[in-house]
C-alpha cells in the first residue's frame, strides 16, 4: 500500500480527502461529495464550461491543454452519441499520481466524469485503468456500483427527469502506447492500441466515431473541486496561465519520495530539497528528469525553475505528467539513457516507421556503447536518429523517445565521451538486457 506523505507547503485540493476513507461513498458525501455534480446539473453546461475556463486548469496527462477549452470544442449537436473518456492508463515512468487518486478518492473521478458529461451533453463515460491496476479497478468498480445504488448514476440522476448518465470501467492489459488518447480509443474498441491520425480530433470524431472528451484522471478529479470553490479561486492557487495545484510524484534519490500536491509554479529546487527532503544520503544532485521519462533532463544547475507548463517550456523541457525523477551524482547518464530508450523501444507500437526503427537503432547503438564497443561517431549518430524522429509520427511516442535522448546526449555529451575513454561509472550488477529479446521470442 503506497505510503501517504505530507509537507506544510502542500496545498491540498485534489488530495484533501486522501487518507480519510473517502473511497467509501458515505465518507465522500460527508466531505462535500457529489455536491459539485448537483451544482453542475442545476446550473447547466454554459456555467460549467465558464467555470472550467476561468480555473485555468490544464491537462494533467502531460500536454497541458486548457481543459475548459477542450470541453468547449465538442459540438453541441451531434448525430452520434458523445462520450467522456477518463485516461487512467498511467504508464509514464516516474508517474504514480493517478494510482493515489484511484486508491483514496475514486468518487472524485466518478463525479468529475459526470461533470464533463453534463458539460458536453454525453450520457456515457468510461474510466480506463491500466491492466496492472487491478486492485484499483476493484476499488473504482465498487465506487461506481455505490453511486448507482444511490441514484447518482443511471437513469434520472439525482432524481432529475430525463438526465441519464452511465459509467463503464475498463481494464487495459499492458501497453504504454494506450496512454495516448487515440490509441486508448482503439483499445477500448477492442483493437490493438495503435494511434489514429489527427485531425479529426477526438472532440469531433472520437470513441465509436462520436464526439469525445478524453482527459487524464487527475484533470477529471480536479473538476468537482473547481466547481465547489469557483474557477477564479482555483486559478489563484497557481501561477499565471497555470491554474491551481497538481500532484507531483517525486521519486529516485530523495529522502522522502512520495506524491505531493503543490501549487503550479512552485520552485523545483524547493520541491526536491524541502518537500522531498533533499538528496538521499547527503549526496550531490546530478540531474533531474522533471515530468516523467519523456521530458528532457535538467542538470543540477538548472533546477531554479517554477513547476508550471510555461516556465518548464522556457527551461527547454516539459512539466509532463508531474513525475520528478531525481538522480544523484553516482548515476551513469549513459546507463540511464539506455534504460530510458530501452523502455520506449519496448513500448513503440510499431505503427510509424521513424519511431519503430528509431527507438530500435538508438537502443542497439547505446547497448553496444554501454557494453564498451562504442566510438565517438555513435554519439552523433544517436543525436541524428533522435532528431529525425521528432514530429514524424502519428502520436507523441516518437517524440517522447527522442526528446530525453537528445537531452542526455546534448547536456551530458562530455560524460558520453569520457565513457569511451574508460571513465566508467556503470554498476557491475547491471547488465542491461533488452526486454523481449531473445527469451521472450518463444513466449508469444
Amino acid at each position: 500500500m503506497p505510503t501517504l506523505v505530507s509537507h506544510p507547503d502542500e496545498v491540498k485540493v485534489i488530495s484533501r480527502r486522501f487518507g480519510t476513507g473517502a473511497a467509501d461513498i458515505e465518507k465522500y458525501i460527508e466531505q462535500d461529495g457529489y455536491k459539485a455534480a448537483q451544482m453542475a446539473l442545476e446550473n447547466g453546461p454554459e456555467w460549467i464550461l465558464n467555470t472550467m475556463k476561468a480555473s485555468g486548469l490544464r491537462g494533467r496527462g502531460g500536454a497541458g491543454f486548457p481543459t475548459g477549452m477542450k470541453w468547449s470544442f465538442v459540438p453541441k449537436e451531434s448525430a452520434k452519441p458523445k462520450y467522456v473518456l477518463v485516461n487512467g492508463d498511467e504508464s509514464e515512468p516516474g508517474t504514480c499520481k493517478d494510482h493515489v487518486i484511484f486508491l483514496h478518492d475514486p468518487h472524485a473521478v466518478i463525479e468529475g466524469t459526470m461533470i464533463a458529461g453534463l458539460a458536453i451533453g454525453a450520457k456515457m463515460g468510461f474510466i480506463y485503468l491500466r491492466g496492472e491496476y487491478r486492485y484499483l479497478l476493484n476499488i473504482v468498480e465498487k465506487a461506481v456500483a455505490d453511486a448507482y445504488a444511490k441514484g447518482f448514476l443511471g437513469k434520472n440522476i439525482f432524481g432529475k427527469e430525463g438526465v441519464d448518465f452511465d459509467i463503464i470501467t475498463q481494464t487495459g492489459a499492458g501497453a504504454y502506447e494506450v496512454g495516448e488518447e487515440s490509441a486508448l480509443m482503439e483499445s477500448l474498441e477492442g483493437k490493438r492500441g495503435v494511434p489514429r491520425i489527427k485531425p479529426p480530433f477526438p472532440a469531433v470524431v472520437g470513441l465509436y466515431g462520436g464526439p469525445t472528451v478524453i482527459n487524464n484522471a487527475e484533470t477529471i478529479a480536479a473538476a468537482p473541486h473547481i466547481l465547489l470553490m469557483g474557477g477564479e479561486a482555483y486559478a489563484k492557487l497557481g501561477s499565471e496561465r497555470n491554474g491551481g495545484t497538481r500532484l507531483f510524484g517525486i521519486s529516485g534519490h530523495v529522502e522522502r519520495p512520495g506524491v505531493y500536491e503543490l501549487p503550479m509554479g512552485y520552485s523545483m529546487r524547493k520541491a526536491i530539497y524541502d518537500v522531498a527532503g533533499g538528496i538521499k544520503g547527503g549526496k550531490k544532485l546530478k540531474a533531474v528528469v522533471p515530468g516523467g521519462a519523456s521530458c528532457p533532463v535538467l542538470r543540477a544547475d538548472e533546477i531554479d525553475v517554477g513547476l508550471d507548463f510555461d516556465q518548464m517550456a522556457k527551461a527547454g523541457t516539459m512539466l509532463g505528467s508531474g513525475g520528478i525523477v531525481v538522480l544523484d551524482e553516482t548515476v551513469s547518464i549513459v546507463e540511464f539513457a539506455l534504460r530510458t530508450i530501452r523502455f520506449y523501444q519496448h513500448e513503440s507500437c510499431g505503427w510509424c516507421i521513424p519511431c519503430r526503427e528509431g527507438t530500435d537503432w538508438i537502443k542497439k547503438t547505446l547497448t553496444r556503447f554501454h557494453a564498451g564497443g562504442g566510438n565517438k561517431k555513435d554519439i552523433d549518430n544517436i543525436q541524428y536518429l533522435a532528431e529525425n524522429m521528432m514530429g514524424r509520427t502519428f502520436c507523441p511516442l516518437g517524440d517522447a523517445a527522442a526528446m530525453p535522448t537528445l537531452g542526455f546526449v546534448k547536456k551530458f555529451r562530455k560524460e558520453f565521451e569520457e565513457y569511451l575513454e574508460g571513465a566508467r561509472v556503470e554498476h557491475p550488477l547491471i547488465q542491461i538486457q533488452p526486454v523481449g529479446e531473445p527469451e521472450l521470442a518463444g513466449a508469444h
Binding site: P93, E439, H444
Partner: protein, 172 residues
C-alpha cells in the same frame, strides 16, 4: 445458463462474460478485458479461450489473436502460480530494481520469463508499474509490494510459499 452452450470457463466467469458483451455500444469493446479475465482464470490465454471469446464476440480467431499479441500482460503459455514482476524502469532502477531482479534470479534459479520446476513462481522483468514513489516495486500477480530490499523480497516470496501450502499443497 451461459450464452455459450459448453463454455470452457467457470459458470461465474461465463456469466460475467454474458453480461460484459451487453454493456458496450459495440460488443467488441469487451475483448481486452475478456482476454485478461480469461487469463486470470486459466493462467494463460489458451487456444480454447481464444475460440470461445471469438465466438462470443462474433470475431474471427485471427482478430482475437491479433489483439492478444499486442498487450504485454497477455500470454499464450502458462506462467507460474505466482508471477513475480520486477520493475527496473528509471525510478526503480535508481533505488535498486536491478539488484532486486538479480536477487530474484539467484533465489528462484530462473531468468526473465522463466518458471520454477514446481510451477510455483515465474519471473518477469517489467516496465514501469506505476509505483515510482515507493520504489523499488514488485508485483506478484496483481499485488503490489513496495520499498523492497533483497531481504524484504525473501519475506515476500515466503508469504506466497506459505499461501500455496494452505491452498492445498502443490501448485498446479
Amino acid at each position: 445458463m451461459s450464452a455459450i452452450a459448453e463454455s470452457i470457463f467457470t459458470p461465474e466467469l461465463a456469466a460475467r462474460f454474458d453480461k460484459l458483451v451487453t454493456i458496450y455500444p459495440l460488443k467488441r469493446s469487451a475483448l481486452v478485458p475478456m482476454l485478461l479475465y480469461a487469463q486470470d482464470e486459466i493462467g494463460y490465454v489458451s487456444d480454447a479461450a481464444v475460440a470461445e471469446i471469438a465466438q462470443r464476440l462474433d470475431l474471427l480467431e485471427l482478430d482475437v489473436r491479433n489483439v492478444l499479441s499486442y498487450y504485454s500482460m497477455l500470454r499464450t503459455v502458462p506462467a507460474g502460480k505466482y508471477n513475480v514482476q520486477v520493475c527496473t524502469n528509471i525510478s526503480c532502477m535508481l533505488r535498486g530494481g536491478f539488484e532486486l531482479l538479480q536477487h530474484c534470479k539467484d533465489t528462484l534459479h530462473i531468468g526473465h520469463k522463466g518458471v520454477t520446476p514446481d510451477g510455483l513462481f515465474s519471473l518477469e522483468e517489467v516496465e514501469c508499474i506505476g509505483a515510482c514513489c515507493w520504489a523499488p516495486a514488485v508485483q506478484v500477480n496483481y499485488d503490489f509490494h513496495e520499498d523492497l530490499t533483497p531481504a524484504k523480497m525473501d519475506a515476500v516470496l515466503d508469504i506466497y510459499r506459505a499461501k500455496a501450502k494452505t491452498n492445498g499443497g502443490e501448485a498446479k
